[in-house]
């Protein structure tokens, strides 16, 4: 094992770790926010919006994230230069990282909408009726009663899904993005060392997954005190 490259790449690796973390954080938060309307559209169960939401979730869950990323970066990206340059020139010049953020966010939303849909349906009707009878309007019921109760239910699933999302972040390096994996591949290109950078990536992901599990266990404990039965 040869680790002499490590000091030289310490800063790029640190930076790459930041990119990986950014992709995870933005896609999880953004994906969850987008999952709420997707789940509600499916629950409402009527017309085009419900079917569109169902189709979107099925597509996101039924196709590889890698290919979704390619579709956005190469596929959609190849169409942008055809748009009028004076208005859409910035679209054609977008960095790969934005496509990564979009792909990961949409993908996470597809998975979470499915989970959230089940959880929203599982909230007892009585809770919602009670909220309505207290004079809360639809929006307020959703914001203060329905969504919090549903979110509480899915916390354990959410922890697992976030770790699954963390484990898909290395896919980002397949388009030119310098996340942790991207930097590790660069090390391999520069030094012709195959195993060491990958082992570093594996070990780092192990630690990150463990850390997320711990954070969630604490968070769940804290939230549990507010849980009505």
């Amino acid at each position: 094992m040869n680790w002499s490259w490590l000091p030289d790449y310490a800063w790029p690796l640190w930076h790459g770790l930041g990119v990986t973390f950014l992709v995870l954080a933005i896609s999880v938060v953004g994906g969850f926010l987008f999952a709420v309307p997707l789940a509600l559209a499916q629950i409402s169960g009527q017309g085009a919006s419900a079917r569109l939401a169902q189709g979107f979730c099925s597509l996101m869950r039924g196709t590889p994230l890698l290919l979704q990323l390619y579709m956005l970066y190469y596929g959609l990206g190849s169409l942008f230069p055809m748009l009028p340059r004076e208005w859409f020139g910035w679209l054609a010049r977008l960095d790969a990282i934005y496509y990564v953020l979009l792909a990961f966010t949409l993908n996470f939303a597809g998975y979470e909408a499915e989970v959230l849909r089940g959880a929203l349906l599982a909230v007892p009707k009585g809770q919602l009726e009670a909220a309505h009878s207290l004079g809360l309007n639809e929006r307020q019921v959703l914001r203060y009663v329905w969504l919090p109760l549903a979110t509480y239910r899915i916390l354990p699933t959410l922890a697992g899904d976030i770790i699954a999302q963390l484990k898909s972040t290395p896919v980002a390096f397949t388009v030119p993005v310098m996340d942790f994996m991207g930097v590790a591949r660069r090390v391999t290109q520069d030094t012709a060392l195959y195993y060491e950078p990958l082992l570093l990536v594996a070990a780092t992901y192990l630690v990150l997954a463990f850390a997320i599990t711990q954070v969630f266990a604490r968070f769940e404990k804290k939230v549990r005190q507010f849980q009505p039965n």
Partner: protein, 251 residues
């Protein structure tokens, strides 16, 4: 279509999506076929490894239990893409070493064998957990009854535990199959021509990026919708054997 979508001038999209030399439909089709076959073989290998790992977890030999635990924990905690790359390099080195030891010339570790072995090893760790859970869910009383009737350990497993646990494992295995069909896309990174890499090549030479990737997405989608339905049917079929279990295990 009025838009040319950046295609080579004079060639219509329909031609490029046709079968044969002019089009890329055959390339995509054989890519999809190759995806399907490595997925099936890797699923079989993963199932076999998973069975081994699950049974090892209940072994009387503590070293077997530990090895199985380390395998399933490590392989499930490390990202699949990273594992695939590590296993791919390691497999190549091992094959080269073995070939040298046997006095053979250079033997390459690539193509379908590498894809199946690498995906199967990753799959085995997940399958092991599903099968272990299913074995645990078979009530102890059934096994004790079988043993007290004079069946050996092996017979008890074969005739009592196995038929009872398989329906319990089916939903988990169905999820694994669906995630495996998607994970096959990752072996395109090590240069194996399945659907994703075939699409990349077709998109690159036709310049029809959007259309080619769209077609590939639809193929993957179709594969997972159809196999999802098949698994649902299989689950329905097996559910009738499950009735007596529901009482004892709360499953």
């Amino acid at each position: 279509m009025h838009v040319t979508l950046d295609a080579s001038p004079g060639v219509s999209i329909l031609t490029l999506l046709s079968w044969g030399d002019a089009g890329y439909a055959d390339e995509l089709f054989f890519g999809a076929l190759s995806t399907f076959f490595i997925a099936i073989l890797a699923f079989g290998l993963g199932l076999a490894l998973g069975f081994g790992a699950a049974i090892a977890r209940f072994s009387a030999i503590s070293m077997l239990r530990q090895i199985s635990w380390i395998y399933s924990t490590l392989f499930r905690a490390v990202p699949e893409l990273v594992l695939i790359l590590i296993l791919y390099y390691a497999g190549g080195d091992l094959v080269t070493l073995a070939a040298k030891a046997l006095g053979l010339g250079a033997v390459a570790f690539n193509g379908p064998t590498a894809a199946v072995v690498v995906l199967g090893l990753v799959q085995g760790a997940y399958a092991g957990e599903v099968l272990r859970g299913a074995i645990l869910a078979v009530p102890q009383g059934y096994k004790e009854a079988a043993l007290s009737l004079g069946l050996s350990q092996a017979q008890t497993f074969r005739y009592v535990s196995l038929p009872l646990m398989l329906p319990l494992a089916l939903p988990g295995l169905s999820n694994l199959w669906l995630s495996l069909t998607k994970a096959t896309a990752l072996v395109s990174v090590v240069g194996y021509t399945e659907l994703t890499l075939a699409t990349q090549q077709a998109a690159g030479s036709s310049k029809l990026y959007f259309v080619m990737y769209g077609a590939a997405l639809l193929l993957y989608w179709w594969l997972s919708v159809v196999s999802g339905r098949l698994f649902a049917r299989l689950e329905n079929h097996f559910r009738r054997y499950q009735a007596p279990l529901a009482v004892g295990s709360g499953a």
